[in-house]
C-alpha cells in the first residue's frame, strides 16, 4: 500500500512539474498550439510585399501544409510551415518537393525551407517584433540570418 501511495505521489509530482513547465508557454505564445498564420513580411518594410504574398500563396496551396510564415531578407528567404499531423511521416519528402517547387517559381530567391517547430516559433517571434515596428532593418536581418543558420546546423 505504501508503495502504491509513493508511486501515485511521484507520478503526480512528475505530472505537476511537466504542467508547470507548460504554463508560461501558454501565457507567452500560442504559436505551436494553434494556427497563427502570420502575414508574410520582408525585412525591408513596404518592399517586396507582392513577392512574399505570392510565395506564401504558393506554399499554402500544398494540401499537406497549414500555417505558413514567410520572411524575406536581403539574402535569404525563410519559409516555415506546419505539416498536417498525418503527413508528418513524409515530412522530409514534402520539404524537398516544396524547395524544388519554390526554386522553380522564384529562381531569384535563395530559399530556406523548414517545418521545424523551433524555426517556426522563432520566425513567429521575429514576425511579431517586426510588425510592431520595434526592430530596425539591420537587426531583423541579423536575427533572420541566425535562424537560417540554425536550420543549417540541423542538417
Amino acid at each position: 500500500m505504501k508503495a502504491a501511495y509513493q508511486m501515485i505521489v511521484s507520478m503526480s509530482l512528475l505530472f505537476l512539474t511537466a504542467c508547470t513547465q507548460d504554463q508560461p508557454v501558454k501565457e507567452s505564445q500560442m504559436a505551436l498550439m494553434k494556427t497563427t498564420n502570420p502575414a508574410p513580411l520582408s525585412t525591408k518594410r513596404k518592399k517586396n510585399v507582392d513577392r512574399v504574398e505570392d510565395i506564401k500563396r504558393d506554399v499554402s496551396s500544398l494540401p499537406e501544409l497549414y500555417d505558413v510564415a514567410v520572411i524575406k531578407g536581403d539574402k535569404d528567404t525563410l519559409v516555415v510551415y506546419k505539416v498536417k499531423h498525418m503527413h508528418r511521416f513524409k515530412m522530409k519528402t514534402i520539404e524537398k518537393n516544396l524547395n524544388k517547387k519554390l526554386e522553380k517559381k522564384h529562381p531569384k530567391e535563395n530559399f530556406t525551407v523548414s517545418s521545424d517547430y523551433k524555426i517556426f516559433l522563432e520566425s513567429v517571434r521575429l514576425n511579431e517584433k517586426m510588425k510592431s515596428g520595434k526592430l530596425s532593418h539591420s537587426k531583423a536581418e541579423k536575427r533572420l540570418e541566425e535562424i537560417v543558420k540554425m536550420t543549417e546546423d540541423m542538417k
Binding site: A3, M7, S10, M11, V25, D116, K118, I119, D153
Partner: protein, 158 residues
Amino acid sequence: MASKQKKMTPQQKNYQTLQQKHELKRPVLKNCIKAFLVGGLICLIGQAVSYFYIYYFNFTEQNVGNPTVATMVFFSMLLTGFGVYDHIGQFAGAGSAVPVTGFGNSVISAAIEHRTEGFVLGVGGNMFKLAGSVILFGVFSAFVVALIKTLLVMWGVL
C-alpha cells in the same frame, strides 16, 4: 527452450504439464494496458520536456532529443534513488523499462546497489552490468547496419 525440451525424460515432461496447471498465469492483457499507459505517459512527459527546451533554449526539433533524454535520465535517477522506480516497474513492466528512463534506472540502480563495494570496484565495475548488453548490441547492430548501408551507397546500389 526448444532444444532443452528434447532432452527431457518422459517423467520430467509429465511433471511439467502437471505443474503448469498450478502455475499462476501472467495477466498479459492487463500488463499490456498498464505498460501502454505508463509508457505513453513517460513519452508524453518527454514531449513536454522537449517543448520546454524548444521554447526556452536554442534547441530545434532535430536536436532536442539529447537534452530531453538527459533530463529523463535525471528524473529516473531521482525516482530510483528515492526507491520509487522499482515499484513503478513492478506495476508497469515494460512501460517503465522500455523508455530511456528504464535504461537510466538499470544503470543507476546497479551503481547505487554496489556502492558498498567501493566506488572503483563496486560502482565502476557494476554500473553497466545490466545496461551493458543494451550498449553492446546497440553499438554492434548499428555498426553492421551502417556498414551495410555505407557499402551499398558506395557501390551505387542505393
